[in-house]
Symmetry: C2
Subunit: 242 residues, 2 copies
Amino acid sequence: MGARKRREPLSRDRALAAAIALVDAEGMPALTMRRLAADLGVEAMSLYHHLPGKEGLLDGLVDAVVAEIATVATQAETAAAGGDWRTRLRLRFLAARTVMLRHPWAPALLTARSTIPAGVYGYYEGILATLIDGGFSYRIAHRALHAFGSLALGFAQEVFQPGAGEEVDAEAAEAELAELSARLPHLAAMVAAELHDATDPTLGWCDSQTEFEFTLDLLFDGLEQARDAAGPAHRETPALPL
Amino acid sequence: MGARKRREPLSRDRALAAAIALVDAEGMPALTMRRLAADLGVEAMSLYHHLPGKEGLLDGLVDAVVAEIATVATQAETAAAGGDWRTRLRLRFLAARTVMLRHPWAPALLTARSTIPAGVYGYYEGILATLIDGGFSYRIAHRALHAFGSLALGFAQEVFQPGAGEEVDAEAAEAELAELSARLPHLAAMVAAELHDATDPTLGWCDSQTEFEFTLDLLFDGLEQARDAAGPAHRETPALPL
DNA sequence: ATGGTTGCCTTACGACGTAAGGCTGATCGC
DNA sequence: GCGATCAGCCTTACGTCGTAAGGCAACCAT
């Protein structure tokens, strides 16, 4: 094919792409400078000619994920241009969520970073535009952004997910449940009630997708009330550029 | 005083307390086995006689924080026993928040842990009890727990807080704002609008306490609707032990 | 050819978590 | 009183991490 004399010269983008591939495949702890370099057929120190250290590498990962979210989200929203603000935001957030499901390491990384990734400003701008277009004041829109929290980035309480650990021992589980119902009666009752009419028990009794959407609707309903209570700024006039 | 012949024998609790003090004072990265041992007047390897490694140490920190939250939260709630579910939960969550403000490292640590700390079960039991007492079905209560998310543990989007970095250069900030309003008009407008009538501009224009409570009320309002829409299970009968 | 520039490698250092085993002083049976 | 037992602490050492400093070899325009 192409007469590539030596090997590809190893750019920042190539390094970042390899890093994402590595982390997707083997998880965050596998990402070390030496390992990443090895995957690129290169020595560790060579990475420092293209990346400002490991922290910079992680920043790059975050930026990449945020960019992916921004892209997917605007695609999703433009697909429903002209719709009301709820469905437009809903599509945005669900799109963001698909990105996070593709990169399970992303939420933890996002929340761990102390500096705010540059890309989120642009992303939030889009959300804000939708809210303003939906008749929200800047004040309420501002609070809405805070209320959405990590939902806007596509994750909410992936925190404390069981991980790939520990098999289920039916016998032990039953004994544990009995002990549970004595010490924590409401929790046990809830588990029992939810287990009883779970449509898909194989998925575990917490369907995070359902929870995600439930929270979404909860916030949307509350916001709609807040908007209407605060005096109408301007009604749903579908006449804004973006 | 007491005739303590040699030094205190260094227990798990003493180690954990020292670790919390260390992290409170100097932040998470300062917590290394060697440093913690030094603070205790001991050699690093001695810690392994009382702690199952660093991961175990972090688990201990998490458990301690959760325990502190559970204690403070139940205190807060019993202070308002007999009140309606909203104010009781509100007090719980605000109490949890004070704990998190005392330990700024806690949210990041909590969300980073992959296994769910044992103590939260008991804590969630209390929340659930309040919800059931408030007339919620187990189904809605379950979803409510998910909806609260990290709010129940006292944090919501402390994520991306600026940290102690970078001074504010007034001149550069103005230029940046101008560039901002061109590229991100809605965001700039929001910042301008919120800055304009900020009651306490010194705190930065995002008052996280206000945002926290706003989100709380948003969820409460939405949940109340959801409860009443789902058919009344049993009305606010203030007659439950806890 | 040649001198500079670019891109990668080699070597090395300090900090980390922790495995393996040695020393010491308190406790207890006799 | 005294030697055995043993928990509690220390010493040493290994492998892995991020990365600072400098060397070498291939490329380019001249």
